[in-house]
């Protein structure tokens, strides 16, 4: 069975592998213990102690609170509430809906027409990291990108109780 030492995986997660090393990992069968090693890696790098149940993206995690709640938490410590609700609704948002604001990112002519498509930027209210962007027409509902079935994942796929 494929497995990697933690140093190799740390280099992977931190973007430090050479192209050849990365290609080697991509080409091989997957290492089945990756998730647990990734959880340990994440847990060691956050400044808080709640148990990480699932990393959602570079800054956000679903964590277990001492009172049994499971919430989305930023690595800065800000909490967004129950993971079954869309964390974006508890974030802060800046909407690029004018040529002026779009041109901070794109040269003229290389961005959308803001009458047709806007660019939403969702920030963490704690650290103001840019957590997600949405490119949608005005009037489009905010997307709930990912609703993991944690119970099934742990119980049925990993064989461990949450």
């Amino acid at each position: 069975m494929t497995t990697y030492d933690i140093k190799t995986l740390e280099n992977l997660w931190e973007g430090k592998l050479s192209a050849g090393e990365l290609r080697g990992i991509q080409s091989k069968f997957k290492d089945r213990d990756r998730f647990w090693k990734f959880l340990d890696y994440c847990q060691a790098r956050v400044p808080w102690t709640e148990k990480i149940l699932l990393p959602l993206q570079p800054h956000l995690y679903i964590v277990q609170k001492p009172d049994g709640q499971r919430v989305v938490k930023c690595d800065c410590g800000h909490e967004f509430g129950d993971y079954r609700n869309n964390w974006k609704l508890e974030a802060r948002v800046f909407v690029r809906d004018s040529d002026e604001t779009l041109r901070e990112i794109y040269p003229a002519l290389m961005h959308s027409d803001p009458e047709w498509m806007i660019l939403r930027e969702f920030y963490c209210p704690g650290c103001y990291s840019l957590l997600e962007t949405e490119m949608v027409p005005p009037g489009y509902p905010i997307l709930f990108d990912f609703q993991p079935d944690l119970e099934v994942f742990y119980r049925d796929w990993l064989g461990k109780a949450l």
């Binding site: 995986l9 992977l12 997660w13 931190e14 973007g15 991509q26 997957k30 089945r32 990756r34 998730f35 990734f38 699932l54 959602l56 993206q57 570079p58 800054h59 974006k88 609704l89 974030a91 802060r92 948002v93 800046f94 901070e104 990112i105 794109y106 040269p107 002519l109 290389m110 961005h111 959308s112 027409d113 047709w116 660019l119 930027e121 969702f122 920030y123 209210p125 650290c127 103001y128 990291s129 840019l130 957590l131 962007t133 949405e134 490119m135 949608v136 027409p137 009037g139 509902p141 905010i142 997307l143 990108d145 990912f146 609703q147 993991p148 079935d149 099934v152 994942f153 049925d156 796929w157």
Partner: protein
């Protein structure tokens, strides 16, 4: 072949296995799958378990035969699309049309060819027109099994004695398909009857010989008959090579073993897909959306009912269950329209299959088993399932490509959560702009153009590195842009330059792969029309985890230029656009500049000396751009991937320029600037719930442009579920619909 064997009305012995007819075999296979959930009801992979080395050897021999067929047969073609870019692939199928193994190349068609074979079986081709050794069949009808009719398929039945072992299939993308407008992804047709030559699962030859009437028909129906003819020979030769390879395997291993192998390898493919889903993803619900605009208002070449601006919507919801079942729904998609970017379900399945084979199971046996392991819903009446034979699908890729970016992004979320960051990727780049047209070439011959530089756009940013620059296309993982000299042989247009296009990649901690630009001068033609086809007023390639979308397109063509006079006078001439805000093309050439966001056009006339800028898109970004390593920003600026003024604006990186024009990071200044930019984020952002309240007022007051209101209305009309979600999100009345302007 005995004479009596060919006569209709004469009872012919069945050609299927164990004395069955093909249709009987297909019905049994589908029934067994329905009842057991396993391919042909197979419980144990007995051959694989008892003799795994032999099993793998058979697979390797078959796979080798298919790749060999592709790599050899492509040299018969004269078309750069096939020979240089590699727009072909081959596969081998069971008698029922299920793919067993495939070559490299445009593997999107492995499933579409499967649909075409099944069509022939359901329509009892075994009886009429009969299926015999040496026969040749062809198909390019998307309603049967294809993406668009420029992808032409050839099938050769492979027999062992009098029994059909399976089908060899091959596909090439032809340069021209005889559509209402020239090229092979015609942007202009508004119905199927303008999409060009339709070959609806035809028998086109026997005894390994193509019927002369078929050849004549095709040669007279397309604008580039020589390329057509050689492409067809490419496909036939490849199929015959596969037939030889399969016959050798059967001779070596025995017929019964090979039959068992085919059954087991597909079932293994199905099981492997579910295993990979469980290994790589998280059960749950994933959602993404993609959009595309068709800007045809006031386009004089189109009929009045097609002269409208429309927005296409691809809501992509994937549900992964506890059993590892993968279900894709596009409920809420927008309706089909009077344009050529509609798709048939076969095309949708093909796109789903090609992306899953590149993401979920690149390390396993890829075949029809993966298709059996997925379920999908493409709502009737939508662009993804028009349920109307008259609908045009000539440029189906136009929205198929943007639409499926959502699948990449939602899989990326799963891969991230599992720690498999080597697989995480933001949206791939759009294979746009499509430079397309036709007329008379520089040799005075009829020509048709679709420049396949589009095979090498930017890849999406990865979780551990930037996306690949000008590398590939979602539909061909082995894309190649081909040498400029090859395109200059085919097209009456000289290359003035081909180089990196700055700021095309989506910014982020890791940026998307960059696109590039080609500046072409029309040359030695008296009759040429060209069109633009690409995204423009909408972004198409989204970022992820805070990464920004790749740049949206624009058009810059110049008519009636002074270029030839400039060259005669020895004055500088442009070789690139570079920065549209300081356009070198605009600065160095006088003429009528079409320099705007009109990126999808009907073919327009061009004359010698006119200029056409074709720029190819970048991929979406990943992560917060303020977290990008400043040294990578420095490198991007110094290598022309990023305009210097955007180092600070996007990335918060202060650069110092030396006297030689090279930039280096001002570390202290960068740290300060990034702090300031975070403060700016705090100052100008609002709580999302406040934003929702203000946006709700905008929705209620219908302060949106008409095409968007029309898109929302039509999506709500087609899907009560999507309508309910839309109205609930914005807290609208249960019968809410947007009021539209006159004529809508």
């Amino acid at each position: 072949m005995p004479e009596a064997h060919r006569k209709f009305g004469v009872e012919r012995p069945p050609i299927g296995w164990e004395g069955k007819r093909l249709r009987e075999m297909l019905e049994e296979s589908e029934r067994a799958f329905e009842e057991t959930g396993r391919y042909c009801g197979i419980e144990r992979l007995s051959l694989k378990e008892s003799d795994p080395i032999r099993y793998e050897k058979i697979f390797a021999k078959l796979r080798g035969g298919l790749v060999n067929a592709r790599e050899t047969a492509m040299n018969i073609s004269a078309s750069p699309i096939v020979k240089e870019v590699g727009e072909l692939c081959f596969a081998f199928y069971t008698p029922e049309g299920d793919s067993v193994a495939l070559s490299t190349g445009i593997i999107v068609h492995v499933h579409t060819m499967s649909d075409a074979i099944k069509f022939m079986i359901w329509h009892d081709y075994e009886h009429n027109p009969c299926v015999s050794p040496g026969d040749i069949f062809t198909n390019n009808d998307p309603d049967i099994g294809d993406v668009h009719n420029a992808d032409v398929q050839t099938f050769v039945p492979v027999f062992w004695k009098k029994e059909l072992i399976g089908w060899a299939g091959g596909v090439t993308h032809v340069i021209d398909i005889g559509a209402a407008t020239p090229g092979s992804v015609p942007v202009g047709p508004t119905s199927r009857y303008e999409d060009g030559l339709q070959l609806t699962a035809l028998k086109i030859g026997e005894e390994d010989t193509v019927y002369r009437d078929h050849e004549l028909r095709c040669e007279r129906a397309v604008r580039t008959p020589m390329y057509w003819k050689l492409d067809e020979r490419t496909r036939i030769a490849g199929c015959h090579m596969i037939r030889d390879a399969v016959e050798t395997i059967v001779a070596d291993e025995g017929l019964d073993t090979f039959k068992r192998f085919m059954r087991e390898v597909i079932e293994e493919g199905r099981r492997a897909f579910i295993d990979r889903i469980k290994e790589l993803t998280i059960p749950g619900r994933y959602a993404a959306s993609s959009f595309f605009a068709n800007q045809y208002k006031n386009e004089p070449g189109l009929p009045p009912h097609a002269q409208v601006d429309t927005v296409m919507h691809a809501p992509t919801v994937v549900t992964i269950s506890s059993g590892g079942e993968f279900h894709l729904s596009m409920d809420g998609a927008s309706p089909w329209g009077y344009h050529s970017s509609n798709c048939t379900p076969s095309a949708m399945q093909g796109a789903l299959w090609v992306l899953l084979s590149q993401t979920v199971m690149p390390n396993d046996k890829v075949n029809g088993g993966a298709y059996l392991a997925t379920r999908s819903f493409f709502p009737p009446g939508t662009w993804a399932n028009p349920q109307n034979l008259a609908v045009s699908t000539g440029a189906a890729w136009g929205f198929l490509i943007p639409a499926f970016t959502g699948l990449f992004r939602l899989l990326a979320r799963a891969f991230w959560a599992r720690g498999y960051h080597e697989e995480v990727m933001a949206s791939y780049g759009m294979t746009m702009n499509a430079l397309q047209g036709g007329g008379t070439n520089h040799l005075g011959k009829p020509c048709s153009i679709l420049n396949f530089e589009i095979s090498t756009v930017g890849g999406g940013a990865c979780a551990v590195k930037d996306g690949l620059d000008y590398a590939a296309a979602m539909w061909n993982p082995e894309g190649d842009m081909a040498d400029v000299e090859i395109w200059e042989i085919l097209e009456p247009m000289l290359y003035l330059g081909r180089r990196v296009k700055p700021n095309t990649a989506g910014p982020g901690k890791y940026r998307g792969g960059s696109g590039f630009e080609s500046l072409r001068m029309v040359w030695k033609t008296v009759d040429l029309v060209l069109q633009n086809a690409g995204d423009g007023i909408l972004f198409s390639s989204a970022g992820i985890f805070g990464g920004y979308p790749a740049a949206a397109g624009y058009r810059h063509n110049v008519h009636e230029t002074d270029l030839i006079e400039r060259a005669g006078a020895g004055k500088p001439y442009p070789v690139r656009e570079y920065d549209p805000e300081h356009s070198e093309l605009k600065g160095l050439v006088k003429g009528k500049h079409c320099f705007d966001k009109r990126t999808v056009t009907y073919p327009h006339p061009f004359k010698q000396g006119d200029l056409y800028l074709s720029w190819l898109r970048g991929g979406g970004g990943l992560g917060d751009s303020l977290e990008r390593d400043p040294k990578l920003v420095e490198k991007d600026v110094n290598q022309g991937f990023l305009l210097p003024r955007y180092a600070a604006k996007i990335y918060g990186v202060k650069l110092i320029e030396d006297s030689a024009g090279s930039h280096c990071v001002d570390w202290e200044g960068t740290q300060e600037l990034r702090k300031e930019m975070r403060k700016t984020r705090a100052q100008r952002s609002v709580p999302t719930r406040d934003y929702i309240a203000s946006e709700r007022r905008r929705v209620r007051e219908a302060r949106l442009v008409d095409p968007i209101k029309q898109c929302y209305n039509s999506c709500m009309k087609l899907s009560p579920q999507w309508a309910k979600q839309y109205r609930e999100f914005w807290d609208l009345p249960s019968d809410f619909a947007f009021s539209l302007g006159d004529g809508l």
